[in-house]
């Protein structure tokens, strides 16, 4: 699952992530594509605080970074 959070400013990308993490199975991944510069540290911090796993980063065709998160529980 990919969430498009382009143009959404801090803290909206992690809110989008929180709203949709339950939409994927435990063990599956969800990617939030966000161009806000605060998204990188905030997604990592959200994963730490909510005990999910930050798997890595992708780059969309338009260059927007995508943060790949695995649902752990």
């Amino acid at each position: 699952m990919i969430i498009d959070a382009r143009g959404r400013r801090c803290p909206l990308p992690i809110l989008d992530l929180a709203r949709h993490i339950g939409d994927v199975e435990i063990g599956a991944t969800i990617t939030v594509e966000a161009d806000d510069p605060a998204a990188r540290p905030d997604v990592a911090a959200w994963c730490r605080m909510r005990r999910h796993e930050l798997v890595g980063e992708t780059t969309a065709l338009d260059g927007t970074p995508g943060y790949v998160v695995r649902r752990r529980h």
Binding site: R9, C10, P11, L12, I14, L15, A18, R19, D36, P37, A38, R40, P41, D42, A44, A45, W46, M49
Partner: protein, 376 residues
């Protein structure tokens, strides 16, 4: 009751500073560089202020110059040390230095210089081994390390690293430390900020005897050739008088601030769900505390607190003009959303802190509700 809790951006004027400033406006208006009577009186005031401040920071009076403000002191510290060591081209600094240091580094790079940024851990403490390796590599003209971080309060191991890097000049930004904690030893060039101890806008620039430092400005004989132009003498006199007053009660005041900071560090995670308190719990500035709240728009929270009369600061991106989150929070890997820095000063009371803690939980909940984040 409202409270001003942003001392790190500038404490309210200390009563001793106000008194000295008013007296010096009458007595110290003349140019201390002139030889007539009023100029000589001004020179005596300037010399006395310099001796007093130098004594507080363990410097010799001739090592200390006054600048217009802390930013100018930091720029002169970095660019002057680089200019004094022209055969080397690299400037090493921690990733969490004040933006004035980072912008000076950028200006060095723009003039074909080289800069190396050394990372920090999750508490904002610099990676000591990497810092020493980078600073002692070939071609390093200067290294910079803050005494303590201005956003999260973590102290840096300045004295140990100064000893470890040997002859490489170490620039120490002590702008949040002077007047609040001991100034670390081992610096070659030191910068300070009178606004953080309750003085008016005056910066300190101290250059240790024997350090190669060359003015990055056009030649001017003022302030040992380090800072061009007539100094703002009334402000300098007020800065010196207030530093002397603050130093006289520093250990008791630091202990009082540390208790209030500890109260905030303990209470906020109990009162507000989903908060990360940032920075080292022990090795830190006594008067400054920072935390980040999940699902909170920092600007909305600042505005809500301001409505209740509380002035604090935020490193969240939505509160900066560039929309970039604080480089300090990013370097630490900390949550940047809903970030608040609370910093205390001579007039901060326990009641101020308790009042802040009383309004904070409902305001965070209100801002979260506006974003539809309740229950997430």
């Amino acid at each position: 009751m409202p409270a001003y809790l942003d001392a790190a951006a500038g404490a309210p004027l200390h009563p001793v500073a106000r008194e000295a400033l008013l007296a010096a406006l009458d007595d110290g208006w003349a140019d201390p560089g002139r030889l007539y009577g009023a100029g000589r009186r001004a020179r005596l005031l300037l010399d006395a202020a310099r001796e007093s401040v130098a004594d507080s920071i363990a410097a010799r009076p001739d090592e200390l110059s006054f600048t217009a403000n802390a930013t100018q002191a930091l720029h002169a510290a970095v660019l002057g040390t680089l200019a004094g060591n022209p055969r080397s081209n690299t400037f090493v600094h921690s990733a969490v230095e004040h933006s004035a240091v980072l912008l000076a580094a950028q200006s060095h790079v723009a003039r074909s210089g080289h800069a190396v940024s050394v990372g920090v851990d999750e508490l904002a403490r610099v990676d000591a081994e990497t810092f020493v390796a980078a600073a002692t590599a070939a071609g390093v003209a200067a290294a910079a390390l803050q005494a303590a971080n201005h956003e999260v309060g973590t102290s840096q191991p300045v004295s140990a690293l100064a000893a470890a890097i040997g002859a490489v000049p170490l620039i120490v930004d002590a702008t949040q430390t002077i007047g609040h904690a001991s100034v670390p030893t081992g610096w070659s060039v030191l910068a300070g900020d009178a606004r953080t101890w309750g003085g008016p806008a005056v910066g300190l620039l101290a250059v240790r005897t024997g350090t190669r430092w060359r003015s990055p400005f056009p030649d001017d004989e003022r302030e040992s050739g380090r800072v061009p132009g007539v100094p703002n003498l009334p402000a300098i006199v007020a800065a010196a008088a207030s530093l002397r007053a603050v130093e006289a009660t520093r250990s008791a005041e630091a202990a009082r601030h540390a208790r209030l900071v500890q109260r905030i560090r303990t209470a906020v995670p109990e009162l507000v769900p989903d908060v990360e308190v940032l920075g080292d719990a022990d090795e830190r500035l006594p008067h400054l505390v920072t935390f980040s709240c999940l699902y909170v728009d920092g600007e909305a929270l600042l505005t809500a607190l301001d409505r209740h009369g509380f002035a604090v600061s935020s490193g969240s991106s939505c509160t900066s003009s560039t929309l970039e989150p604080s480089h300090v929070l990013v370097a630490m890997g900390a949550l940047t959303s809903g970030n608040l820095r609370v910093s205390l000063h001579h007039a901060t009371t326990e009641v101020d802190v308790e009042d802040f803690l009383a309004v904070l939980p409902a305001l965070v909940a209100e801002v979260r509700a506006e974003l539809g984040a309740t229950g997430l």
